[in-house]
């Protein structure tokens, strides 16, 4: 029996041709924004300049994790987290561990490492969103590999927020945020209001690409 016949027989037994080189897709969790799925056991980077919708996307991810009853940890390098905004976005604050690092990126990295090595969190976030790029770039690639290795083969998702991509090859998914427009209403002050913002998150890493547009409303 030739190899082709054998393959055909095998495929018919399995119910279709099998791509032996294809790797199984990682388990994913919803982010709260349609089209964006986060890989479990992966490092996800959310990057973009100020007012690009990074934090709104982050709160959406936190709210979705809270709805799954998962414990979440937020390591906040610049002490920028606003509990009021988070509560309005549907984040379950009682399931959130907030570590305030007081403008010290090194402390934030240490705290994130300790939390991730300790395990048990469904979502761990390292927020370097307001850290100066020069400081953030000093975090060595080894540190990022260490964090990536710590979450690998666990059901946890590690999310980092920064102005630009820092983890490079260690990231499973990089979401680059950009503001499309801010929504204002009313002609002139005092009747004018900031109604919200339209932002786009573009995947710039990995085989799967997406660029969903999401709208966030002001408080």
């Amino acid at each position: 029996m030739g190899a082709a016949a054998l393959r055909e027989q095998f495929d018919s037994f399995l119910g279709g041709p099998l791509d032996w080189r294809a790797r199984p897709l990682p388990d994913t969790v919803p982010s709260g924004i349609a089209e964006i799925l986060l890989p479990r056991g992966g490092l996800v980077e959310i990057v973009g300049p100020a007012s690009s919708g990074r934090t709104s996307l982050l709160l959406s991810i936190l709210a979705a994790a809270g709805a799954r009853q998962e414990a979440c940890a937020l390591v906040d390098a610049e002490d920028a987290f606003d509990p009021g905004s988070a509560a309005a976005a549907g984040v379950r604050l009682e399931r959130l561990l907030w570590v305030r690092c007081g403008h010290n990126a090194e402390h934030a990295l240490k705290a994130a490492d300790l939390l991730i090595q300790g395990g048990g969190f469904g979502l761990a976030i390292l927020d370097l969103g307001d850290t100066p790029p020069a400081t953030a770039r000093r975090i060595s690639l080894t540190s990022w590999f260490r964090l990536r290795r710590a979450v690998e083969h666990t059901p946890a998702v590690l999310v980092t927020v920064a102005r630009q991509s820092l983890a490079s090859a260690c990231a499973s998914l990089v979401l680059e945020c950009g503001r499309e427009c801010a929504a204002w209403s009313g002609a002139a002050p005092p009747s004018r209001l900031l109604r919200g913002m339209r932002a786009r998150a573009t995947s710039t890493h990995g085989s799967r690409t997406c660029s969903p547009v999401f709208t966030v409303a002001a408080l």
Binding site: S51, S56, G84, A86, G90, L96, G120
Partner: protein, 412 residues
């Protein structure tokens, strides 16, 4: 099988580590029931070795004997020094050489026996029971039974101590954390063993250090769940003492625990993942060492309109609330503390804003929104808020209060 300890030290505490039925027989003597411990320790010799080892650990100096009945064990412990295991059926032979005074007969009986020339256990054991009953009555018979090692009786157990605490005094003042840790380890292990033998755990550790200056240094550690993990407790205590070291050398260490029933809960097969409580407490203690106290926890919003009003609570301690509705909201990234700004006013509105890391012309704006509150307290607040879009591409919230202009954060 019964065991008896005769000597000095915390005899009752040591006995309670092995058995819940402990009798304080007399000054410096405790007897306890060790029936069934062969399944844990094996032969009586192994059990005796385990008790002797533990006695050495807790600095108890005592004779130890094991026998088939309590009185034989008590007599052997009082009469022979060291560790002895009396084989079943050989009690009379084993105890034969001991003086009769160990049986503590009444003065009248002792005089009578002395006149008869009976001074040792074996002399009394050899007498006929009928003759003893006729001449010495029931007390004489009981004494003969004990001399032969055949007296059977129940132990009268002592009341279990309600408090679980221990203290130690080092030989010299301890001024380093490392040797102090050794002392704490000894106390913690003993307390954990005592709790474990009663099927209890602890959720609170109270440490009181007596200092060379005469002052005391007190620390209280609360565990998220009842635990008996002495290693984890020691690590927690070490981290706490590193963060709050005693101000002077330590001359006395007292450690108390609150006994509680251990948590009996089975995790669900499909329950969402959550950190293991004691491990998490250790992790949080380590993080507190890095970022400082009061900077790790769960935020809890306060019932006020004051901006950025929240307090930090312990993670896991906050009251479970219903799932709030999930909706995409524009988030504010706060600057803590708010950045002082210089704002150029044009036509009664902000026209140009300069602050640390921020500089730009105002392209669009909304406001002002006047808010105030707490005017009835010592810390009133009032401000005019503006939402602005700057030429640097970002959206900010700025406000003006009596102290001047500030940038509160940016919308992101």
């Amino acid at each position: 099988m019964f065991a008896c300890l005769h000597g000095s030290g915390a005899l009752t505490a040591l006995a309670l580590e092995f058995s819940p039925v402990v009798e304080a027989t007399g000054a410096g003597t405790v007897a306890f029931d060790v029936s069934g411990l062969d399944r844990l320790f094996g032969h009586p010799q192994d059990l005796a070795a385990a008790i002797a080892r533990r006695a050495a650990e807790v600095q108890v100096k005592a004779n130890l004997s094991l026998a088939d009945n309590p009185d034989a064990a008590i007599c052997a412990a009082r009469g022979f020094s060291g560790v002895h295991v009396i084989p079943r059926g050989d009690e009379g032979k084993f105890l034969g050489e001991l003086p009769l005074d160990l049986l503590r007969p009444s003065a009248e009986l002792r005089d009578t026996l002395e006149r008869w020339g009976i001074r040792r256990f074996r002399d009394l054991a050899a007498l006929a029971p009928l003759g003893i009953a006729e001449r010495l009555g029931p007390e004489g018979l009981r004494l003969r039974e004990r001399a032969r090692g055949e007296a059977e009786r129940k132990l009268v157990p002592v009341e279990e101590p309600a408090r679980f605490e221990d203290a130690i005094e080092p030989e010299y003042p301890v001024d380093l954390l490392c040797p102090l840790e050794f002392l704490l380890a000894r106390l913690l292990n003993g307390l954990a063993t005592r709790l474990a033998t009663r099927g209890l755990a602890t959720d609170e550790l109270r440490l009181r250090l007596g200092l060379e200056t005469g002052a005391t240094h007190e620390r209280t550690l609360r565990l998220p769940v009842p635990s008996l993990d002495s290693k984890a407790m020691l690590k927690l205590m070490r981290l706490d003492l590193e963060a709050h070291p005693p101000p002077a050398p330590v001359v006395h260490v007292w450690l108390g625990t609150r006994p509680v029933h251990p948590r009996a809960a089975q995790g669900g097969l499909y329950a969402p993942m959550a950190p293991e409580p004691v491990k998490l407490e250790l992790t949080l203690a380590r993080i507190r060492m890095v970022v400082g106290d009061g900077r790790v926890g769960t935020p809890e919003l306060l019932d006020t309109h004051r901006p950025d009003a929240f307090r930090m609570t312990e993670f896991g301690a906050a009251r479970k609330a219903a799932q709030p509705p999930i909706q995409a909201r524009l988030a504010l990234r706060r600057f803590r503390p708010p950045r002082r700004a210089r704002v150029e006013i044009a036509s009664g509105k902000p026209g140009f804003v300069t602050a640390e890391g921020i500089r730009g012309r105002v392209l669009d704006l909304a406001g002002p929104w006047r808010t105030s509150g707490d005017w009835w307290t010592a810390e009133p607040w009032s401000r005019d808020e503006w939402d602005i879009a700057l030429s640097d591409g970002a959206l900010y919230r700025i406000y003006c209060e009596p102290k001047g202009w500030f940038v509160e954060g940016n919308y992101d």
